[in-house]
Amino acid sequence: MLDTLLFILIVLPFLAGLGCYVLRAEGVRSLIVVATGGILAAASVMLYFQTPFTYPVEASVQATLFGVSLDEIIMVADFLLLAVILYFGVRHKNAIIVALAILQGALGAYLEFGLIEHAPKAYPTFVIDTLALVMVLIISIVGSLICVFAIPYMKEHEHHLHLPASKQPRFFLVLVAFLGAMNGLVMANDLAYFYFFFEVTTLCSFLLIGHDETEIATKNAVRALWMNSLGGAALMIGIVWIYSELGTLEIAKVISQQHTSAAMLVALGLLCFAGFTKAAQMPFQSWLLGAMVAPTPVSALLHSSTMVKAGVYLVVRFAPAYADTNLGLAVALCGAFTFLGTAALAVGQSNGKKILAYSTISNLGLIVACAGIGTPTAITAAILIIIFHAVSKGLLFLCVGTIEHGIGSRDIEDMRGVYGKMPVTALITMAGVVTMILPPFGMLLGKWMAIESSAGSLFVIVMLALGSAITVLYWARWAGGLMSVEGGEKFKTESQAALTRAPLMILCFGAVVLSFLAPWIYSDMVVPLIKLSPYAVAAGGLQSGAGSFAVIPLFIVGLIGFGVAINALRKARSSHAFDAPYMAGIQSPAVAGAYTGPMNKPVVVTTGNYYLSAVFGEEKLTPYGNFAAIALLVLMFALGGLF
C-alpha cells in the first residue's frame, strides 16, 4: 500500500510527463494530465489516512525501482543532473553555472566516494510526518489543479504565439514531473535524496521559465538557474559539513536536537541559505520575478505549491535544529526583512503578476521569519501560512491568467472594471484577495499567529507590523479596481472552458472552506508535528495564553454580514436607481465615463493607483533592499559562527 502510494506520488508524475512527451496527441495529453492529477490528489488524500508513517528501514535498504537499488539510482541521477546543468551552463555561456555545477559535482563525488561509509542504511529513506503530508497534499491537489488549468491555457497561449510546432509535450513533461520531484523532496529523510530532488526542481523551473524561448525568457531562465545553483552549492556544502560533523545524512536525526556548536550552526546556515535562494528571499528575489515571463500556469505552480515552497520547507524542516540560537534570530530577521522589503516593492508595481510575485516572496519571508523564531506558536503559524498561501496564491495566479486572456493585459490598471466584462472571474479574484488579507480567513490567522509569536523580538515585530500594513494597501486597491465600473446593473454573463472554470471554483471554494476548518487543520496537522499544543481549540476558536482567535464564531458573524450585504446589493440592483459618478457637475451626457472639459470637448476620466514610485519604485528600492539583505545574510553567518 505505502509502496504504491509512494510510487504514485513520486514516480508516476515522471512517467505521466514522459507519456505527455511521447504521445503527442492533444486529447491524449489532456487525458493524461487530468488523470494524473486525479490520481495524485486521491493518493495524497489516502496518504493522509496513513500518516504519520515512516518508510521502514529494511524496506529502505532494499528499496528498488524497476529492480535497481534506489540509492544507486539517485546517485547516478544526481551526477546526470549536474551534467545537464553543466551543459546548460556551457550552452548559455554562464561561468557561474558552470563553476557551481563543477563544484557540486566535485563535492558530491567527495561525499559519495570519500566520506560516506557505505554501510547498510540504518534509517528510513522516507519519513512522512504531518509537515511532509501538508506539503504532499498541497503539491498533489493545488499543483494538479494548476496542471489541469494549464491545458486550455496553453492551447490559447500557443494560439496567440502562432508557433510552427507545438511545444506543449515538452512543457507538460516538465510541468507534471515537477510534482513528482516536489513530492519526493518533501518526503525524503535522506539528505542525498533531498539534494537530488532539490536540484530536479531547479532544473525543472529553469526549463519552464525558458519555455517560450524568447530572449528575455532565456535570460531570466539562466538567472534563475545560477541563483538556484548557488543555493544548490550551499546545500551541498552544508550536507558535506553536516556529515562530517554528525556522520549521518538522516534528516530526522539532524533535527532531533538543538545544535549550538558554531560548526553545526554554520552548516545549518548554509542549508537556510539554500532555502533562501529557492524561496527567492531578498536579495535573490530577482529570479522569481524574472520567472513571470513564463506562461501563467508556470508562475502559479512555482509560487503556490512547488519550487519556492521547497525553499521554505527546507527552512521550516530544519527549524528545530537551530531553534533558540542566534542563527534562528538571524533567519527571523532575514525573513522579516524580506516580508517588509518585498511588500514595499509590491506597492510600486502595476503588473499584476509582479505584484503576485512580490507578495509571494513577502509571505515566504513571513514563513521564514516564523521558522526563525521557532517557538511552537511560530511553527504553527509557518505551517498554516504555507497551506493557506498555496491555495489562495494558486487561485490568484490562475485568476490573473484568466483575466489576461480575457482582456489581453496583466496590468492591474487595465483590470479596472473587469467586473463589467468578466464578472465571475472578477468575483473569484476578489474572493482570492479577501482570503489573502482579511479575517476570518486562514492567511490572516497565520499572520496573527506570526505577529503574536514574534512580539518578543523587537526588530522582527516592527518589520512585521509595517509589512502587514503595506500588504493591505497593494491588495485592497487591486480588489477595488476590479469592481470599478459604472452602473453595476446588467453585465454580460461570462462563459469559460470547464477546465478553466473548474480549477478556479475548486480553489476558491477550497480557500474558504479550508479557512473554516483551520482549527481542525491545526489539531490534525500541526499538533502531531510539534508534539505540543500551544493553542487550545475551543468553540471553534484557537486560544493561547497570548491571545485568542474565534474562527468559527467570526465565520458565522461574517456569513450573516455577508448575507445582509448581498441582500442589500440585490435590492440596490433591482431598484435600478443608477446615477452617474460625481464629476463636478459636468458629466458628459453623450460619452460614458467622460465629462465635458476644456473647449467643450469630452474628456474621458481615467484613474490610476498610487505607486509612490519615488519611494517604492523598483529601481529606487531594490539596491538598498538588496544591500541590507546581503548585510543580514553576512550577519546570519557571523551570528551563527561566532556564538
Binding site: A465, V564, F578
Partner: protein, 296 residues
C-alpha cells in the same frame, strides 16, 4: 474570545449588548458633543446634541441612488465589521483580532469607494489606504506594547492587572505609546491635520473623498459604523487606565479634548507629509518605548 459563552453567562451577554447597542449610541453622542465643542471653539453655537442621529436618520430615509451596486454591499460589510469589532472589544477579545476585524471594514469602505470610476472617490480610496498604511503599524506596535506589559493580547489581561497600564513597566514607554495611539486616533477620528482621505467638512480638494459616492442609507451606514469605530478606538485609549471608572472617564475626556484642540489648531497636512511624519516619529516613538519595555 468568550463568544461561546453567550447565553451561559449573563455578564457576557450583557457586554455583547453594550457593544452592539450602547456603543453606537455613545458614539453618536460623542460626535454630537464633538460638534458642539468644536463650534464653541470657533465662537459658534453648533448643532443640537442629537444632530448626528438626525443626520443618520435623514440619510436613511433618502432616495437610494448609486453609481455601482457594490457601494451597497461594501457599506454593509463596513458596518458589520465595525459593529463586530466593537462587540469583540466589549467581550474582551484579542486586541489584534479586533483590530483585524476592524480592518475588514476599512478595506471594504475603500473597495466600495474604488468601485465607482469617479476620480474623487478613487483618490479618496487611495488616500484612505495610505492612511490605513500609516496607522496600522502604529496600532499593532501599541498592542505589542500592551502585550509586553500584560503578557497577553487579550483585553481581559489588562483588566486582570491591579495597576493601571500607564504605570505598568515604567511610565515613560507607556506614555510614549499613548502618544502613538493618539496619532492613530486622530486619523481614525478623521481630524485635522490627518483628515486627508475624506474629512467631515466639505471644503476639501477631493470633495468628500472616500465618501463621495456613498449616499443615502449607505452613507448612513457608514456614519453609524464610524461611531462604532470611534467607541472602539476610545476603548483602546481607556485601557491605559482601566483600574477605575473615574480614571477611564477622566482619561477619555482629556484625550478627546486634546483631539478637538489639535483639530482646531492645525491645518490639514498632505498625505506625503502625513506618511513621513507618522512613520518617522510614530515608529521612532513606538520603537523607543518597545525597546524600553524589552530592556526592563
Amino acid at each position: 474570545m468568550q463568544a461561546f459563552e453567550i447565553g451561559l453567562n449573563p455578564a457576557t451577554f450583557g457586554w455583547l449588548l453594550v457593544g452592539l447597542l450602547v456603543a453606537p449610541v455613545a458614539g453618536g453622542l460623542i460626535a454630537g458633543v464633538d460638534r458642539i465643542l468644536t463650534a464653541k471653539c470657533q465662537s459658534r453655537v453648533g448643532p443640537p446634541l442629537l444632530q448626528p442621529f438626525y443626520d443618520a436618520a435623514k440619510l436613511w430615509g433618502k432616495e437610494t441612488k448609486v453609481s455601482n451596486v457594490w457601494i451597497a454591499f461594501c457599506s454593509w460589510m463596513y458596518f458589520t465589521a465595525a459593529a463586530t469589532s466593537c462587540v469583540m472589544f466589549f467581550l474582551q477579545s484579542d486586541l489584534l483580532i479586533i483590530f483585524f476585524v476592524q480592518a475588514v471594514g476599512a478595506v471594504f469602505l475603500v473597495i466600495g469607494a474604488l468601485s465607482v470610476p469617479s476620480p474623487y472617490s478613487q483618490i479618496g480610496g487611495q488616500r484612505e489606504l495610505l492612511q490605513i498604511m500609516a496607522y496600522e503599524p502604529l496600532l499593532i506596535l501599541v498592542f505589542v506594547g500592551i502585550f509586553l506589559a500584560t503578557g497577553s493580547f487579550n483585553i481581559s489581561a489588562v483588566y486582570a492587572m491591579d495597576k493601571p497600564l500607564m504605570l505598568e513597566s515604567g511610565v515613560v514607554p507607556m506614555v510614549l505609546l499613548f502618544v502613538v495611539l493618539g496619532y492613530a486616533l486622530t486619523i481614525k477620528l478623521r481630524k485635522s491635520p490627518f483628515d486627508i482621505s475624506g474629512s467631515h467638512h466639505a471644503h476639501q480638494e477631493i470633495v468628500r473623498g472616500v465618501f463621495t459616492e456613498y449616499s443615502g442609507r449607505y452613507l448612513a451606514l457608514v456614519e453609524v459604523a464610524h461611531w462604532y469605530e470611534v467607541v472602539l478606538v476610545l476603548g483602546v485609549v481607556a485601557l491605559f487606565w482601566a483600574t477605575s471608572w473615574y480614571a477611564i472617564v477622566i482619561l477619555l475626556v482629556l484625550t478627546y479634548a486634546a483631539e478637538i484642540l489639535v483639530d482646531n489648531i492645525t491645518a490639514r497636512l498632505s498625505w506625503r507629509a502625513m506618511l513621513g511624519k507618522l512613520w518617522a516619529s510614530g515608529l521612532a516613538l513606538s520603537f523607543v518605548s518597545l525597546a524600553w519595555l524589552y530592556a526592563f
